[in-house]
């Protein structure tokens, strides 16, 4: 076997203000790619688990909601399993993609997902991660997509044992990772890019 050359990742560039054209074209009235945006629907009737609605805004350094950005989420299914293959049975819910994408509303800046509450995820070392959703945010002015994690504020006992949250224990900023329950099965997760509430972003 020949030794493979080590390459370097190509650099990121901002998604810019026109990301809708390529990623969520139907939001600007472009139906060129079939008219259904990828990631716009996570659920079908057959998806297992508790339906939840997630909403939030992303605030800039002047506390103004960003209206030209895009949020992507990645999460486990109701049993805590990630979808890893289109064809092979990996045990995860075949009626749940686990991936969603939402633009920030052009007027309010709100993004929304209709999804299910993920189950706790077992790690390779046998520890359990509390239910959480991975977030990735891109927009004009953001040079490299931002990664964070959303946890559920009403999962107190599981959050207590979550390895990442345990590691962050003692920092006041930990609260920036908690979604707030605003109604039955409805959560709000606001992201702050700067200021006293600046969200924890991870180098993953």
């Amino acid at each position: 076997m020949h030794k493979l050359q080590r390459l370097k990742e190509i650099p990121s560039q901002t998604a810019g203000p026109f990301l809708h054209i390529g990623c969520i074209p139907s939001q600007i009235g472009l139906n060129t790619l079939g008219g259904i945006d990828l990631g716009s629907v996570l659920l079908s009737k057959k998806t297992k688990g508790k339906r939840i609605t997630l909403t939030g805004k992303v605030f800039d350094g002047k506390n103004i909601p960003i209206r030209d950005g895009m949020v992507e989420i990645w999460q486990a299914d109701a049993n805590g399993l990630y979808r890893t293959s289109e064809t092979k049975l990996d045990g995860s819910d075949l009626n749940f993609s686990g991936w969603g994408r939402s633009h920030c509303d052009f007027e309010s800046g709100s993004w929304t997902f209709k999804t299910i509450k993920p189950g706790p995820v077992m790690m390779k070392n046998g520890k359990w991660m509390a239910p959480h959703i991975s977030f990735w945010f891109v927009a004009r002015g953001i040079n490299l997509g931002l990664n964070t994690r959303m946890y559920f504020s009403d999962e107190h006992s599981l959050n207590e044992k979550d390895p990442l949250l345990q590691e962050l224990k003692g920092t006041k900023r930990i609260r920036t990772l908690m979604a707030r329950k605003i109604a039955e099965n409805s959560y709000e997760f606001n992201i702050y890019l700067q200021g006293k509430n600046e969200t924890i972003f991870f180098e993953i």
Binding site: L7, T14, A76
Partner: protein
């Protein structure tokens, strides 16, 4: 190697931050209020980062990878210089990655985007939408046909013009490989003047975003070809325990 094998592999090599732009790049004004002030907190990859979305290849429509045709479903062709943009997707281990979804968007030949918030006065092309997508084949190859985009002016406090570029959104085999970037064209004098291109401090890194004219794939009396290879983060080949720092 099939993608599901790659998917089941381990954590990613830590990102080399020197290759990427910093969050705060004052010459690019939009970054001022949108750059986090606190440093990113490193975390060990868990299943949540080493897995990532899987797409059904059947999502692709007949003209998705042909931007010259897709806006008019093949009945009319976009105006401008016909080009083919192609390349391979690799990871940092030099392995090609099949089944990678690539989404692209761009301005038309005049430098105008089909988007309500583009205020540049250049004309819209009635035959050109500006979006496309494709998936890499079993050898990691991708290709699409499009119109060479024009340069355009943009509000950044000075007389700023973007070099011709195509925006790329790329999905690898894990959520941690997710990347959005821009492809430039060999020989464009605007690249070195561009505050956005120059958010990348390392000239060698910026150069990897510059597509090269490729006469081998250029089709006589039809379309010039540009080659743009995409390298995504590499992964450790074995799964090891996801130990959190400090544990």
């Amino acid at each position: 190697m099939d993608k599901s094998d790659l998917r089941c592999q381990g954590p990613l090599y830590p990102r080399d931050k020197t290759l990427h732009p910093k969050a705060l790049t004052p010459d690019y004004k939009s970054s001022l209020l949108r750059s986090p002030k606190m440093t990113l907190i490193p975390m060990s990859n868990t299943l949540s980062e080493i897995t990532g979305p899987v797409f059904d290849p059947n999502i692709l429509g007949e003209f998705d990878s042909d931007l010259t045709k897709n806006y008019c479903s093949g009945k009319q062709i976009g105006i401008g210089e016909q080009i083919i943009v192609h390349g391979k997707v690799f990871d940092e281990n030099s392995r090609t990655i099949p089944n990678v979804l690539i989404e692209v968007w761009q301005a038309n030949a005049s430098g105008r985007y089909r988007h309500f918030s583009d205020s540049y006065k250049a004309p819209l092309d009635p035959y050109f939408g500006g979006c496309g997508r494709c998936v890499t084949d079993q050898n990691g190859c991708y290709s699409f046909r499009t119109i060479r985009p024009g340069a355009y002016p943009w509000p950044n406090g000075g007389n700023n013009w973007r070099p011709s570029h195509i925006h790329f959104s790329i999905f690898g085999t894990s959520f941690a490989q997710r990347l959005i970037t821009q492809m430039y064209f060999e020989g464009d004098p605007l690249i070195k003047l561009c505050p956005i291109a120059n958010t990348i401090e390392d000239p060698a890194s910026l150069k990897t975003l510059v597509a090269q004219l490729d006469m081998k794939k250029t089709i006589h009396m039809d379309a010039r070809a540009y080659q743009f290879n995409i390298i995504l983060r590499g992964r450790f080949s074995t799964i090891f325990e996801n130990k959190m720092d400090g544990n």
